[in-house]
């Protein structure tokens, strides 16, 4: 096993800058569109008229309908394969190969807790925009004592671009991978 040939820290350092999923870039299956915006606005009862009211949006500083800014992550979410989703542990699609963070599971950090989600929005999306997302590991901390147990914080950055390759926003997402047997110690 290569796990034995390299220290854990060396293996983790090797992940920085590498893709988090099985693909380096995910292209949204559908362009930004009004039906999905309307569905989203209804679900969250967000009645902001620049999302759904054409006349209001045209008279606003946006000059037309814009997508809710925090819908950014939604456009590139995986289209799920419903059959077998529970058997895959909730993963919407089958992972190709081993997940990069399996190295942490083997080191005893088997449990996962999401801790932070941070967005920077460079521009609002409009109907017709096609969003791509590329996600890479940014940092993996040294071992920390947390109230959940001993763990390491893993941060990845998703860069969202449009059909012209221009960056429209970024998301930093942080999880704690921890050893559940050490809780409270």
């Amino acid at each position: 096993m290569s796990d034995d040939e390299q220290t854990l820290d060396e293996r983790l350092a090797g992940l920085i800058g590498k893709p988090v999923g099985s693909r380096a870039v995910t292209v949204a299956p559908d362009p930004v569109n009004v039906p999905m915006i309307r569905h989203w606005a209804a679900a969250f009862e967000d009645h902001n008229p620049v999302y759904t009211d054409e006349a209001f949006a045209e008279a606003s500083r946006f000059g037309g309908i814009v997508a809710p800014p925090l819908m950014l992550q939604t456009w590139t979410m995986a289209t799920p394969m419903i059959t077998g989703i529970a058997a895959r542990g909730g993963s919407p699609v089958a992972m190709e190969g081993e997940a990069p963070l399996a190295v942490l599971d083997r080191a005893g950090y088997t449990a996962t807790l999401a801790t932070n989600s941070e967005f920077e929005i460079d521009r609002y999306l409009r109907p017709g925009d096609v969003v791509s997302a590329s996600t890479a590991f940014e940092t993996i901390s040294e071992e920390k004592n947390t109230r959940m147990g001993k763990g390491r914080f893993v941060t990845w950055v998703t860069t969202y671009t449009d059909q012209d390759g221009e960056v429209v926003g970024r998301q930093r997402f942080r999880i704690l991978k921890f050893n559940p047997s050490g809780a409270g110690s």
């Binding site: 969250f44 902001n48 946006f62 925090l70 920077e120």
Partner: protein, 145 residues
């Protein structure tokens, strides 16, 4: 903003550090959690299937993170108005939210600065649930000057 025009954008000149945002109260039930998860295209069964959530050690389905950021942006723009642009949102996740809980979003202005033709308004906020803070965070919205 006046009652007659609920969709007027807040006048940046009237905002001061320390101003409180209008609170947002969200009564959470299973329908709301499932609607938010599917509208955000998050099909993780923990957000729609109680039996699956139980196998993950949770007593019930719980709200997904994309719904959290969605409600945060609604809280910000319900207060700031439709021409506000959310340019930054950073949340720290606290305790989960289950059906039957109530979320109360509160926040205050922590900073103001000019940014081109806009005024950037910095905000600190939290969403308190039945068993503790569900979300705490900071954000920036930009308003026409």
């Amino acid at each position: 903003m006046t009652a007659a025009d609920p969709w007027a954008t807040r006048d940046a000149g009237t905002i001061a550090v320390g101003d409180a945002l209008d609170p947002l109260i969200v009564d959470v039930d299973a329908t709301r959690i499932v609607a938010g998860a599917i509208a955000s295209r998050d099909f993780m069964p923990a957000h729609h299937d109680r039996g699956f959530a139980n196998t993950q050690g949770a007593p019930d389905i719980f709200m997904n993170i994309l719904s959290d950021t969605a409600y945060c942006s609604r809280f910000l723009t319900d207060w700031a108005g439709p021409e506000a642009m959310v340019t930054r949102l950073a949340i720290r996740l606290g305790v989960p939210v289950f059906p039957g809980h109530t979320l109360t979003y509160t926040g205050e202005v922590t900073g103001l600065r000019r940014e081109g033709n806009d005024v950037a308004v910095e905000i600190a906020f939290r969403a308190a649930g039945d068993i503790g803070d569900h979300v705490t965070g900071t954000a920036e919205v930009r308003l026409p000057n």
